[in-house]
C-alpha cells in the first residue's frame, strides 16, 4: 500500500513512491558523479596508458556525466510532476462539483444507481467499495443543502433525527490504565480511540500536566454505535451523524464537551481532538468551537471535508479512497485544501474488512508513522511537543441521551 499526502497549506501532492524515486535519483546522480571524478583523478594519457584505454574511459566518463545530470533533472521534474498531478486532481474535483451544482442531485443519483447496479452485477454481489461510488456520493453531498434537508426531516412525525439533551458519566473499571505515556504518532492516536460498541464508553480523555503549570488535553471519540433513525440512549447515533454533518449541535459533540469539563478542562486550555467516523465530526466540532486552543486535529474516515477549520490548526484527515463515509461530507474547497489529507485504498479489504473499519485505519496510521513526508514528520513532532513527554492522566466517559 502507498499512502498519498496532500494539502497542509501547500498545493503539492506527493506519494511515498514519488519521494522514494526522488531519493533514488539523487543517490544515483551523486554516485555517478563520484565515479566520474575518480576516473578523472586517474589522469589517463594516450602515451602512458594507451589510446584505447583513454578513449573507452572517456566514453564511460561521458555516459556517467550524462547519467548524473539526467538523474538530477528527472528528480527535479518529478517534483513538478507531483504538483501538476495534484492540480489536475483538484481541477477534476472542481468539474465534478460544478456538474453537481449545475445539473443537480438528480444526475448524481442516476450515476449512483448505475454504479450500484454495476456493483450488484459483480460476482459476489455489491461491495460498495467502488471509488466511482465514493466520488459520486461526494458529488451528491456537495449538491445537497443538508441543513434544509435536516429541517425537513425533523418536521416528519415520529421524532426521527431530533436532538435531545445529553449527560455524561465517568466509566471506571474498564481495564484501561488511568496513566499512560503520551502518544508518539498517528498509530498511538488511532489505537486509543474507543471502539464503537453498545454500552461502552465513547470518549477517552487524557490530561497532561506540563512542568510550566500548563495543562494540555487529548480527547478521543468513537464512531457511530446506533444506526437507528430515532434517537435512543446513545448520542453516538445516526441523529448526531446527520445533525453534525449539517453543522448543527450534535448530541455526541455536546457530550464530548461535557466530558472535557467534567474531567477538569477549563475553556481556553489546549485540546487535541481525535476521532474516527462520527468521532471525527465530534473532533472537528471541538476544533471549530472557539472554546479550545487546538493546534492539531486528527480524523480517520470522517465526513468533515466541507467544514472550515481555523487556519492555525494542523488538520490531519485520513481517508480510505474506497470508504464511502468521508465522501458524505462532500468536497473541500478544490483549489486550496487546507487539510493535510492522507489517502490510500483501505488495507485488509481482501480479507473481508470494511474500508471504513478502524482496523484498516490503524494500519494506515502505522504507515503514516513510517513515512518520511515532511508534513507528517512535522505533525508527529507537534504531537510530542504538545504532550511535553509527560505521562497522561486517563479517564473514560460515556454519554447518554436524556429525554428533553
Amino acid at each position: 500500500m502507498t499512502i498519498e499526502v496532500s494539502g497542509g497549506g501547500s498545493v503539492a501532492v506527493t506519494t511515498e513512491a514519488m519521494l522514494d524515486a526522488q531519493r533514488e535519483l539523487a543517490g544515483l546522480a551523486a554516485q555517478a558523479g563520484d565515479v566520474c571524478a575518480r576516473l578523472a583523478e586517474l589522469g589517463l594519457t594516450p602515451w602512458g596508458d594507451g589510446l584505447d584505454v583513454v578513449v573507452f574511459a572517456e566514453r564511460a566518463r561521458f555516459e556517467l556525466g550524462r547519467a548524473e545530470s539526467e538523474a538530477q533533472r528527472l528528480g527535479t521534474e518529478l517534483a513538478f510532476a507531483a504538483d501538476a498531478y495534484g492540480a489536475a486532481e483538484r481541477v477534476a474535483l472542481a468539474k465534478q462539483q460544478l456538474l453537481a451544482g449545475v445539473l443537480g442531485p438528480g444526475l448524481i443519483l442516476g450515476q449512483l444507481a448505475a454504479i450500484a447496479a454495476a456493483d450488484a452485477a459483480r460476482p459476489g454481489g455489491a461491495d460498495f467499495a467502488d471509488p466511482a461510488l465514493v466520488a459520486a456520493l461526494r458529488a451528491l453531498a456537495d449538491s445537497l443543502d443538508l441543513p434544509v434537508l435536516l429541517a425537513a426531516a425533523q418536521r416528519l412525525p415520529g421524532g426521527e433525527l431530533e436532538e435531545t439533551p445529553v449527560t455524561v458519566e465517568q466509566v471506571v473499571g474498564t481495564g484501561i490504565s488511568d496513566s499512560a505515556a503520551g502518544p508518539r504518532g498517528f498509530s498511538d492516536l488511532a489505537k486509543r480511540i474507543p471502539p464503537a460498541a453498545e454500552g461502552e464508553p465513547q470518549l477517552r480523555v487524557e490530561r497532561y500536566d506540563l512542568p510550566d503549570g500548563e495543562r494540555h488535553w487529548i480527547i478521543y471519540s468513537a464512531g457511530t454505535a446506533d444506526w437507528g433513525a430515532t434517537p435512543g440512549d446513545d448520542p453516538w447515533d445516526l441523529t448526531s451523524d446527520v445533525v453534525g454533518v449539517a453543522g448543527g449541535s450534535a448530541g455526541s459533540t455536546r457530550a464530548a464537551m461535557l466530558a472535557l469539563q467534567a474531567a477538569g478542562w477549563k475553556p481556553g486550555e489546549p485540546v487535541v481532538p481525535v476521532g474516527h467516523s462520527q468521532g471525527g465530526i465530534v473532533a472537528t466540532a471541538i476544533a471549530t468551537s472557539g472554546l479550545t486552543a487546538t493546534p492539531l486535529l486528527v480524523t480517520f474516515g470522517s465526513p468533515t471535508a466541507g467544514v472550515r477549520v481555523p487556519s492555525g490548526v494542523t488538520d490531519v484527515a485520513v481517508e480510505h479512497t474506497d470508504d464511502v463515509v468521508p465522501a458524505l461530507g462532500g468536497s473541500p474547497r478544490p483549489l486550496v485544501d487546507p487539510r493535510l489529507l492522507v489517502r490510500e485504498a483501505a488495507p485488509g479489504t481482501a480479507q473481508g474488512a470494511s474500508p471504513h473499519a478502524m482496523s484498516g485505519y490503524r494500519q494506515t496510521a502505522a504507515e503514516m508513522d513510517a513515512s518520511s513526508d515532511d508534513r507528517l514528520v512535522d505533525a508527529r513532532s507537534e504531537l510530542t511537543a504538545f504532550t511535553g513527554d509527560q505521562k497522561a492522566t486517563v479517564t473514560m466517559w460515556r454519554g447518554e441521551r436524556v429525554d428533553g
Binding site: 502507498t2 533514488e24 535519483l25 544515483l28 554516485q31 602512458g48 584505454v53 566514453r59 564511460a60
Partner: protein, 73 residues
C-alpha cells in the same frame, strides 16, 4: 630500494586496472538506484518509464566502456 621504469609501468598498470574495476563495480550500485518503473502517477508514468530507461542505457554504456577500457590495458 630502487624502482625501475618497468616496475613503475607495472604499478601504474595495476592501479589503472583496479580503478577501472572499481568504477565498473560502482555501476552495479547505479542499477540498484534506478527507480521502479511502476505506473504510480497515471499518464506521466509512460514518460517517466522512458526517462528511467534512458538512464539505464547510460549506465549500460558506461559499464560496457569500462569493460572495454580494462580489456584494452
Amino acid at each position: 630500494m630502487t624502482i625501475s621504469s618497468s616496475d613503475e609501468a607495472q604499478l601504474r598498470h595495476s592501479t589503472v586496472r583496479t580503478a577501472l574495476q572499481s568504477a565498473e563495480a560502482s555501476c552495479w550500485g547505479l542499477y540498484l538506484l534506478l527507480p521502479d518503473e511502476q505506473p504510480w502517477h497515471g499518464l506521466a508514468s509512460g514518460a517517466f518509464r522512458l526517462r528511467v530507461a534512458a538512464l539505464r542505457e547510460r549506465v549500460d554504456a558506461a559499464s560496457a566502456a569500462l569493460n572495454a577500457a580494462e580489456a584494452a590495458l
